[in-house]
């Protein structure tokens, strides 16, 4: 049984083929990174996995279950959580509330119990907070716990988004450019957390990233895309030195000049 597999995935927007015949497999417990120049289709693959766009071709298989054709919210229920490149937090809610929404898939109470706020709801709420507190501790968010998200600095929001995804206790975590907009220290912290998430929490990470330092530090395997197609796959070092990858980033002339 494969953990997570994308088979011959494709999508076209009008005449533009954004993702074309992309296949890869993520093994349980690894950090798998997708790299590629701007417009290579990395985020589009994430949006296809999240069923935000319907795939024009191919299959997405998670723990032997085909995701394509499911309702959007089912993806999270199956245990796939994601972050966004351009931060999509709940602005007018506190950090705690944001993380608690991350636990939406673990809710067990019915509407009538909630309207009356019965003992079972109270116990469930306390249990949810206990789970969220672990994430707050891990990501060092205690200071911001009860502050409104609107008004918090960018770096903190990035971490809150990671926290919200972790709060859902996912099996597979999709990180869309976790280091974008972060300074070197913050990127360094992010690298530690990704390692913690993999080793400490045992969550598989599928990541899109541009910062090659971060990529080679945390990734087990790397997939390189260009113009919607796979051009290389392998360890970070293999992919970085792959001629097709160098060509995609620097152009054909650079390759011949280097040779």
């Amino acid at each position: 049984m494969s953990f997570f597999k994308v088979e011959k995935l494709g999508i076209r927007f009008g005449g533009v083929v954004a993702v074309d015949d992309v296949s890869f497999e993520v093994k349980r417990g690894e950090v798998y990174t997708i790299i590629g120049p701007n417009g290579a289709g990395k985020t589009t693959i994430f949006n296809l996995i999240g069923l935000i766009y319907p795939a024009s071709a191919g299959r997405i298989v998670f723990e032997d279950k085909d995701l394509t054709g499911l309702a959007q919210h089912r993806v999270a229920e199956l245990g796939i959580a994601r972050t966004f490149q351009n931060i999509e937090l709940f602005e007018h809610a506190t950090v705690l509330q944001n993380l608690l929404i991350g636990r939406h898939r673990h809710r067990r109470t019915s509407l009538w119990e909630e309207l009356l706020f019965t003992g079972s709801v109270r116990r469930a709420e306390i249990a949810q907070r206990e789970a969220v507190e672990k994430v707050i501790d891990l990501l060092d968010l205690a200071h911001y716990r009860d502050s409104m998200v609107a008004g918090l600095p960018y770096g903190v929001r990035k971490v809150i988004e990671l926290g919200r995804a972790l709060a859902s206790e996912p099996k597979l975590l999709l990180l869309d450019e976790p280091s974008s907009g972060l300074n070197p220290e913050e990127t360094d912290e992010m690298a530690f957390w990704i390692e913690d998430i993999k080793k400490g929490l045992g969550i598989t990470v599928l990541m899109v990233e541009h910062d090659m330092n971060l990529v080679s530090r945390v990734s087990d395997r790397v997939l390189a895309l260009s113009e919607g197609r796979v051009i290389a796959e392998g360890t970070p070092a293999e992919v970085q030195s792959h001629p097709a990858v160098i060509e995609a980033y620097l152009g054909g002339a650079a390759v011949s000049a280097a040779a």
Binding site: F84, F117, R129
Partner: protein, 357 residues
């Protein structure tokens, strides 16, 4: 300034955050209980309206303020509640059945109206709900055999378990009880997973969905609960005015209801009640002011003009509404002399992804 040191998760969850709140809200309830002994008949009547509009305001606040869905058709739910109550009372159905029926019937209609909300947003949803309002108004006018058309319907006083609630005080206590129950139920909802899902939908549909919130279910649910509260408000309204006819449930009424939410402060329960109070008090103030104005200014259009001006100035100068204003005043006193301008300003300075919309 009060600092809360949390040592227990229950401090996050409970309704009263500290002993000060317990004191002030108990005092408020005590004063409200004493109101029938303090006010004259006319002011009592205004208090009835404040409470009824509070219930409706709470319903609309859930939808607009907490789920982020606009509705310009809530007068229709008010009408459904009012007519359900009127028709059931005419058939001798007791109040403790007819009131929940009014809520349920409005909720069922809310579910139906909620369906277009799955595809429509913002101004388009406003137009769809506006159309719904017009349809309901038209149906009530034309279906004379059921609703009496333009000649309307009369209601008798409420009879609850054999007791006639025909005095001002008894009707007031009924309204007060229902208002408090509505507030507590709404607060309970907002501190549990369903309420958080509503807020999530308001702030970012895309990430709500990615966190496993079923947008279709929760949007329609929000419409249904909102309509149910408005239906209860409608039933009480019918008893208050004792005569209902289609022209009480027009688009203008819907806009007044939205005014409650915006004046009170979008996204706060206090706001719904404050907004309702303001909506009732403002016409009184205008009536008083009319005596001092030249007769050509104090025409019948004055009220509409003042309402419009107040609405626009709130949107421009105080988007947080009356409750936001109160928070600012309170903070000013608490921090004196260190309050600074812009403490309540929240910015959305970071680029939101447009591609996913």
């Amino acid at each position: 300034m009060r600092f809360l040191f949390k040592t227990d998760y229950d401090q996050d969850i409970r309704l009263f955050k500290h002993s000060g709140q317990v004191f002030w809200y108990s005092l408020l309830v005590a004063v409200l209980l004493a109101v029938p002994y303090l006010l004259d008949e006319y002011l009592m009547s205004q208090m009835h309206f404040v409470l009824i509009y509070s219930i409706v305001g709470l319903g609309l606040m859930l939808l607009v303020g907490f789920t982020g869905q606009i509705s310009l058709g809530h007068a229709a739910f008010l009408a459904v509640g009012a007519y359900t109550e009127a028709l059931m009372q005419a058939r001798g159905i007791p109040f403790f059945i007819s009131l929940p029926s009014a809520a349920l019937f409005a909720a069922a209609l809310g579910l139906i109206v909620g369906l277009p909300a799955l595809r429509l947003k913002g101004i388009y949803l406003a137009i769809a709900t506006l159309a719904f309002n017009v349809i309901v108004e038209e149906v009530i006018t034309r279906w004379e055999s059921l609703t009496g058309g333009n000649s309307g319907r009369h209601l008798k006083a409420i009879e609850l378990f054999g007791i006639k609630l025909d005095t001002d005080a008894s009707f007031y206590y009924l309204c007060l009880g229902l208002t408090i129950v509505s507030i507590v139920a709404l607060m309970n909802l907002l501190r549990s997973p369903t309420g958080r899902a509503f807020v999530a939908i308001r702030d970012s549909e895309i990430s709500a969905s990615c966190m496993g919130v079923n947008l279709a279910t929760y949007k329609t649910l929000s419409f249904a609960i909102s309509a149910a509260l408005t239906g209860i408000g409608g039933a009480l309204y019918a008893h208050k005015v004792t005569f209902i006819s289609p022209e009480q449930f027009t688009l203008l009424q819907s806009i007044e209801l939205v005014t409650i939410v915006i004046l009170g402060g979008v996204g706060s329960i206090h706001g719904a009640v404050l907004g309702a109070a303001f909506l009732i008090v403002l016409p009184q103030l205008i009536a008083v002011a009319k005596d001092y104005l030249p007769s050509n200014v104090a025409g019948s259009g004055l009220q509409a003009v003042v309402f419009g001006l107040v609405l626009i100035s709130f949107i421009v100068f105080e988007p947080l509404g009356l409750y936001g204003r109160w928070l600012k005043v309170r903070t000013w006193f608490e921090l004196f002399p260190f309050y600074r301008k812009g403490m309540f300003r929240r910015q959305k300075s970071y680029m939101k992804s447009e591609r996913l919309r």
